[in-house]
Symmetry: C2
Subunit: 379 residues, 2 copies
């Protein structure tokens, strides 16, 4: 582990290879990162992906994937896999979710059928999938729930984390805990203290990027990250835009995941060093250059912005693929540059340079407001 | 050119390489074979594709593609390209189509705008796109139009073919004529005699596979093919299922194109040696073998039928890609086997073997009915 003003460069050892950190995990909820093959993910530069236990439990079913030889073989991916426990999806996607100490009852968002998930089952399911890193079942309150409600969720998340540890079979998967506490510093501290006492091999910060402002999110990340063990990986769940990765690394985060880069790609928003560009903008329809002339991705090496613009206007699936390849390559390159800057001891300069170039005017205004707010808050 | 009981194995020399025949052209109407990159098409085994002048004229516009350096560069395809003139699409897709000797007025199926296409413009557009083989503008009657109406379309197609020849600039593209005549043997003969007198480098049979029975289609192909010059390529437009390629080759056809293999793939119908299989069938959801264990495509080498089934049930784009790769590889392998059988002098045996294995019970019944019908008809 090498650090640079709080930014950290390390490694995750997994049964499917060593993963350099900081790392971004593309999201393959349904055992596929949308539009891409596993081979393409590897070629783009990724060595670890995320899959969702909730989605795979509902369809095709954990037993089906187990019968097919596990998730790696099912999706033909020989890199590392981290699975989410399903907690966040149950609380955010599933209708009629009812939680008790025993577990959580929810209805499928696909067919309305009723299901019951416990901490023990969440661990069993993730072990059956064969993921390299698995997550505890947690209770995710809304960011604006009352302190009393959030405190109960924090304590339940703690009890569930203990049960997850006990439910583990002696496999070689790493089980990470998830710190909750919404936007309340004292509850984040309570959660971090409870969970670090249990000695998990890695810690996630959950329950953020779900509606609170960026200012509040980063303040919470800062306050929480310093409470986590220095020698263990820190994972900021559900966060992964280019600017957020850069900001998160500065606050000591090692692992990110987000569907944002692939989702906005399918909407035609492509990352460039100067910020997001929308390929549906009429200005691109006659551009012979690639969307990002500085990019070395398959899309930018082979196709004009005009061709990509044509594919999007013509509703061609190849457009979704090429945009996804570009955005993921942008993230992969960004993470490599971040790691090199940390190792070179120049991360602060890299971060300032990147953010100065990347943000649009509106974003920069917002960024300055945030800095001001943080200064006033004394952080 | 080598022949075997009427089946022919030859070569097409184009500015973008030599293409062995028989050949099947995947359809890339909008400058993309749906879901795939040009690189993948080449890897699957194709050296020539079809694009549609009608679609590209409407979107992004012929001038845009010309400015971007031509169609090959636009879609990053260095193999050969055949473009259709737009005649068939104008008559079948565009609303409010009005034809006169001068040309055809139609409305865009995209935005309703009015356009006018002449034989001269059809040639100019295809030359601007830079296709290797271009087609004359023809008038396509419905298969059940009256003989009088079809005769007029045949004569107009002849006059337009003469105008296309005159409109050509001295480029290295090959301009093929299209024999019309619907299902009337005497009108097919009239069209073939008119057009072969003009000495085109290749001849297409148009106006088939548009609603008439297979029996009538093959009878018409047989009657028409024998009227075409032996030393020039013969192209059966819009036909390209596995069984139809096998039947068409037996009747002396060299070139096929059809969106069917890619379209049915996106509907979940996958070709196997035993016929089409629908991946949405519940039986596939637990199959660890690939969809077609005999297939060497990327999909069958890497993924179980269960995974493909899961992708289709989950509406994942990767499913559409993997099914398309499989069906096109099946066709590519089939065409290679056909060519080898012709060169070995064993095409009749190959054809019987393939059709006996490929057809489902219903199709075989229909096939036998056709044979009976053809025997009774004395052909």
């Amino acid at each position: 582990m090498q650090t640079c003003h709080g930014a950290r460069a390390g490694e995750l050892d997994t049964p499917h290879g060593t993963v350099p950190t900081p790392v971004f995990l593309p999201v393959g909820s349904q055992a596929t990162v949308k539009t891409l093959t596993s081979e393409e993910l590897r070629d783009i530069g990724f060595s670890m992906v995320l899959a969702n236990t909730y989605h795979l439990y509902l369809r095709p079913g954990i037993d089906v994937i187990e019968k097919m030889g596990g998730l790696h073989r099912f999706m033909a991916w020989d890199g590392a896999i981290l699975t989410d426990s399903g907690g966040y999806q149950v609380f955010s996607l599933a209708p009629l979710c009812r939680v008790s100490d025993e577990g959580v009852t929810f209805r499928s968002h696909i067919d309305g059928s009723e299901h019951f998930l416990t901490p023990e089952l969440a661990v069993n399911y993730q072990e059956a999938l064969g993921a390299d890193i698995i997550m505890v079942l947690d209770e995710c309150p809304a960011y604006d729930d009352s302190p009393e409600k959030v405190r109960k969720a924090v304590d339940r998340t703690h009890r569930w984390a203990e049960r997850c540890l006990k439910a583990r079979k002696p496999h070689d998967q790493s089980l990470y805990a998830i710190v909750q506490g919404a936007i309340y510093p004292e509850l984040r501290r309570r959660s971090a203290e409870q969970l670090t006492a249990l000695d998990f091999p890695g810690y996630a910060i959950g329950g953020l990027s779900i509606g609170e402002s960026k200012e509040v999110m980063w303040a919470t990340v800062e306050e929480t990250a310093v409470l986590l063990p220095e020698n263990k990986p820190r994972y900021l769940m559900g966060v992964g835009s280019p600017e957020d990765i850069v900001e998160g690394v500065a606050r000591g985060i090692d692992i990110f995941d987000s569907a944002l880069p692939t989702r906005v790609a399918r909407n035609g928003a492509l990352f460039t060093g100067q910020g997001r560009r929308n390929i549906r903008n009429a200005a691109f329809s006659l551009v012979e250059e690639p969307v990002d002339p500085e990019c070395d991705c398959y899309t930018c090496r082979n196709f004009s912005a005009a061709y990509l613009s044509h594919l999007f206007r013509s509703d061609e699936i190849l457009g979704l693929r090429l945009a996804t390849v570009h955005n993921l390559r942008f993230i992969s390159n960004l993470v490599n540059r971040i790691r090199n800057a940390i190792l070179d001891g120049t991360y602060n300069a890299f971060r300032d340079d990147f953010l100065a170039g990347y943000r649009t005017t509106d974003e920069r205004t917002r960024f300055e407001q945030k800095r001001k707010w943080l200064r006033e808050r004394g952080t």
